[in-house]
Symmetry: C2
Subunit: 218 residues, 2 copies
Amino acid sequence: MKPLQKPTSRSAARAENERLILEAAETVFAEHGFKGATTGQIADRAGIPKANLHYYFPTKESLYRQVVENIFRIWLDAANTFDDCDDPEVALTSYINAKMDISRRHPMGSKVWANEILHKAPVIQDYLETTLDEWTESRIAVIERWIAEKKMAPVDPRTLLYMIWATTQHYADFNHQIETLNAGKPLSEEQFETAKKTVVGIILAGVGIHPNGKGAGA
Amino acid sequence: MKPLQKPTSRSAARAENERLILEAAETVFAEHGFKGATTGQIADRAGIPKANLHYYFPTKESLYRQVVENIFRIWLDAANTFDDCDDPEVALTSYINAKMDISRRHPMGSKVWANEILHKAPVIQDYLETTLDEWTESRIAVIERWIAEKKMAPVDPRTLLYMIWATTQHYADFNHQIETLNAGKPLSEEQFETAKKTVVGIILAGVGIHPNGKGAGA
DNA sequence: TGAAGACTTGACCAATCGGTCAAGATGAGA
DNA sequence: TCTCATCTTGACCGATTGGTCAAGTCTTCA
């Protein structure tokens, strides 16, 4: 058996440094974009010299790619809540809530993603074409089945998904605008809960699901 | 009376050059962000030498500011369609349609705006705090009155506006993602019309307005 | 304990980019 | 036609920045 390492051993220090760098990088890339961010800025924020950052991540691009891959993993976790239940009311509610919570807790990740798409996805194009496309098509099929089973009104499934993505991510990507329109202050927990309930309410009613009533509207 | 100038006169050439530069700048700023865009790139796209660009716009920032102000003017025009009619069904429908059409026809402008907010609005913060804030508050008041008059269901007006902004702008800002998920092809006119109708339908039903029925749900 | 590898870091370099400049071309008015 | 202001442009400059390097320091393990 190999001996246990002290918490400050080589490998632990390495893991800790990589974590610090990735955390700093996520914020700096989110707020300045890939081009606007400098490795010096990221190193400063991580509290290490720039040369040391380049020891762990040889190029700015490799660091960026790692950040984007982490974000994509978080996104995929939330995507699974869509399948919590086969009832559209429960599935849509938990999916919207999960995405809203991610925007609240990981706004920087969402901003990096938005930047990527805005700049035509130079790094994540392959994810869009494979994982994201497959996920989207399979969920469209689920929604079409719900519609056929009269569990919800006949709406275009693709547009519904885009509305959910757009709205939930808006609370991260456009957070600065939302704060400015909220007297310059971040949304309180209460305000954010109101937003979540309102989004869920409008989407559910919008697709003809009325929690207190029965099925779909005509 | 001043003599008419030939079409290729000084002032006409100046106006034409400024238009070319602004058009090129909008696209390049949209796709690369402020930092990512280079004046050389913009000049190339406008078909003039870089030094000439700096003759018309002394600094990159002054050019950027002009682009953003043009975009804001277009945005304000669309905002007025909100007041076409005091009936929420008509007002919301025409506002959503106007914003969707802008995303379709001026996607670059929307992307520049998104970039600005993502980067904490270094150039347009004053617009957010004055014009946008006033517009938003006044429309929230209108929506609250509609709710009090039972013309629509009691939803949080702010969240409703954010959903409309997020969704309509998504079709410009995330156009690359939408294209990728559409087999790499731009949305056809027919697909885009479907999207518009679906968004209007979900929002109207979401706030309890049923065009074929009467007023609001409880 | 000492050798070898892993990590740290200040100094440095080449490339890029925003902006300048001076010399010339062009058009309008007298 | 002459003059002057406007416009055009290639060459250039200083600042920034991604990335390198060599000279160290620290851990680990035989």
